[in-house]
Structure formats: C-alpha cells, structure tokens
Symmetry: C2
Amino acid sequence: MACRVIEYGGAMSRWAPDAALRLERAAIELFTVQGYAATSVPQIAARAGLTTRTFFRHFPDKRDVLFLRERELPGVVAALVAGAPAFLSPLGLVMHGFEAMATGPFEGWREDIRSRRAIIESDQGLRERELLKNVLLGEVISEALERHGVAGDEARMVARYGVTVFELALTDWLQADGSAFVDVLHSTAYRMGRLVRPARQGE
Amino acid sequence: MACRVIEYGGAMSRWAPDAALRLERAAIELFTVQGYAATSVPQIAARAGLTTRTFFRHFPDKRDVLFLRERELPGVVAALVAGAPAFLSPLGLVMHGFEAMATGPFEGWREDIRSRRAIIESDQGLRERELLKNVLLGEVISEALERHGVAGDEARMVARYGVTVFELALTDWLQADGSAFVDVLHSTAYRMGRLVRPARQGE
DNA sequence: ACTCTGATGGCATGCCGTGTCATCACGGTC
DNA sequence: GACCGTGATGACACGGCATGCCATCAGAGT
C-alpha cells in the first residue's frame, strides 16, 4: 500500500511515520461523507492501508482519531503559562498562555478546526470526549499555576474559568467571519468578566 | 426475583415501577465491589432480576445507570431560575436557582453523591458522561436566562460560569466535612468572583 | 551476516448496543 | 366473565468496538 511520506518535522522512525496521520485523514474523509456513526474502524483502517489492530495502536478508541492534532496542546499551553511574566495575576497568567496560542498557530488552523467541530457536534460521544480534553487542559494549566505559587484551590478555579473563556471564544471565532482569534478572545474575556463580577444585589 | 416495591412518588404503571431503580442499585453494588470496567451489563441485569435487553430500555448505555438520579435536575434548576425574582442580575438568577437546590434536596444526598462520585472518578468514560451532563445543565439554564430577557451570548457565558461554580462547590462540599452546601456554594462563588474580576494589569 | 528493536498483520475473544418478534400481565370494554 | 389493547419484558440475532496474543518483517547497530 502506498506509503506516502508526509513531512512531519524530521525523520522520526524507519517506518512510515505518518500512520496516525493517514488514519486521521481517512477517518475525517469518511466521517464527512457518510457520518461518524456510519463509519466503522475497519473501514478507516482499510482506507489508510492499515489494519484495524493498527488503528487501535495509534488511538485508544474510535473517537480519539479526531483529537490527534490536540495531543500536544496541554503541554504547549502549560509551557506558555509557566513562562509567563511572574508579576501577572493568576488569571493574567492563564490568559497570557491562551493569547500566545491565539496569535500563534491557531490563526492558521481555522478551517481545519471548523471542519472537525462540525463532525464533533454531530455525535454525543464526540462531544463528551471534547469536554474531557478541555478539562484535562484545565488540570494541566492548574498545575502550571501552582508552580507559579498560586494556591491549589485558586489555581483550579482560575484554570477552569480560563478554559471556559477559551472554549466560548473559540466557538465565537469559528462562527464569526474575519475576526482575529486574539480579538475574539480578549472580547470574550472582557465581557464575561463584566458579567461575572460580583454584584451587590445578585448574591 | 423479589419485586420489592419502592415508594417513588405515586403509582406509575401496572408493572413494577422500580425496574430502573433495581438496576441502579445492582449496578452500584457491583461497581463498588469489583469496579466499573470489570462489571458487565448482563451481570447487572441478572442481579436485578431482569435481562440485558431490559437494561438498555431503561438506560441508553452502561454509563448512564449512574446518572439516574440526576435526570430531573436540569428541569428543576431551570424552573428555579425561571421563577427567580426578575430584578436579579443574570448571575444572580443562576445562583438563585443553585441556592435553592443547595438548601433543598442536595443537603440530604451527600453520602449518595459521594459514593457515586468515587465510582465516576475511577473511569474516564464516566467522567466524560458527567461533564456532558453538566454542559447540558448549563444549556438548559441558558435557555431559562433567555426567557428572563438575557441576551443569548451573555446567557451562555453566565450559565457556563454558574455551572462551573456549582461543580467546584460540589467537589469542595463532598470533601470538606460538616459544612452546609449553601455555605460552600456562597464561598466558592465569592472567591471565584474575586479571582476572575478583570484586573488592570492582568489583561 | 547477525541480532535487536519496534511497528505491523492476523486471529480470537468478550462486551456493548440495537433491531426484531414473541410473550404476558394488566386495564378497559362489552 | 370474555375480549382486546397497551406496554413492559424476554429471547434471539447481529454488527461494531476494543484488547490480548503471537507471528512477521523491515531497518539500525554491531
């Protein structure tokens, strides 16, 4: 079967280093055409020129193939938070990390993310997996905050809040046309902060 | 098999109205003893005196049996938000609903919720399901806010924030000993609001 | 040429979840 | 009291998901 070599960032191993990428590509194509539920793992593997068993070596389950691109996200964001200026507030640290993501790689991935989102929202199981990934991201950020000296409970709260802002901003950015992700992120953070500010009458 | 009649709120149908409850009880017992993954649906059904097919008539999948008690939660909270005083801020409306839940039924369910939580946290799939339930709760609350005249995007933000506060408070309440849920809820809301307040230096 | 490593293929297995039809208890009707 | 409709359950078949196990095989290092 064609072992098309896709440049990936350098020679990794002696075998075709793109097995996971081929599987991901085949899966997205099939999901788009015939839907997620109607696509079987053997079908994906066959289209990628691999076997079912190999699919499950690269992905823990069928759903995970749609999140290959996000595997490194927690580590990257955590590193960005870890490297944020120490004088920032806890929320400032988190937003610093997200801001760097928004101005960096995300800006060019809009259509990729959009097409994946369309598939994810078509299936409840995929939605669940996405929620878990977000929570996991929050936990990693929380640890990074603790290494900045933020107390554990405060770190958890700020991390969860930050991830929520990121999620909502991402959704807005994918729907709205033309805006830069950074701007949407800032706008969302500002508006949400205002809404959530403890008001005297509303508890 | 013993068809123990559990009072549930009134005669529902002519058959034993407690099939779902029997299944839930059997499932929790087995999950506690041998773990979630090591327990099969046929095993649960047999212990409840029913068949596998009947299990899937009461629950869409194996995970859902642990969330039977929360089925009515979204409706209840939405009704509480809908009935909240109109002069409250959007966040005040949401917190009003949660506050009523906290002072009401939740206070007596602590140990039940705690044992379920222990099982849920032992399995990734169960965590995912719980996250989905929380998001669904947020969506229902968001709709209730819109019926109060809150704009769509603001409703989404406030609802997500409120659910997050509720989650964090619930976790704290289950771990800490002795505190009333309402107090933990208020404390969490206050502390999180302070952390999240837009600071001048931190974006 | 030899060995070691690690990705892959192939097979078997068990559980999950669903479609389909039969059964059977109960309530209503005459 | 006999009839029928309703709706929950039982029984069976079936396909897909996920994993354990072992064989294979290509390449790297010696």
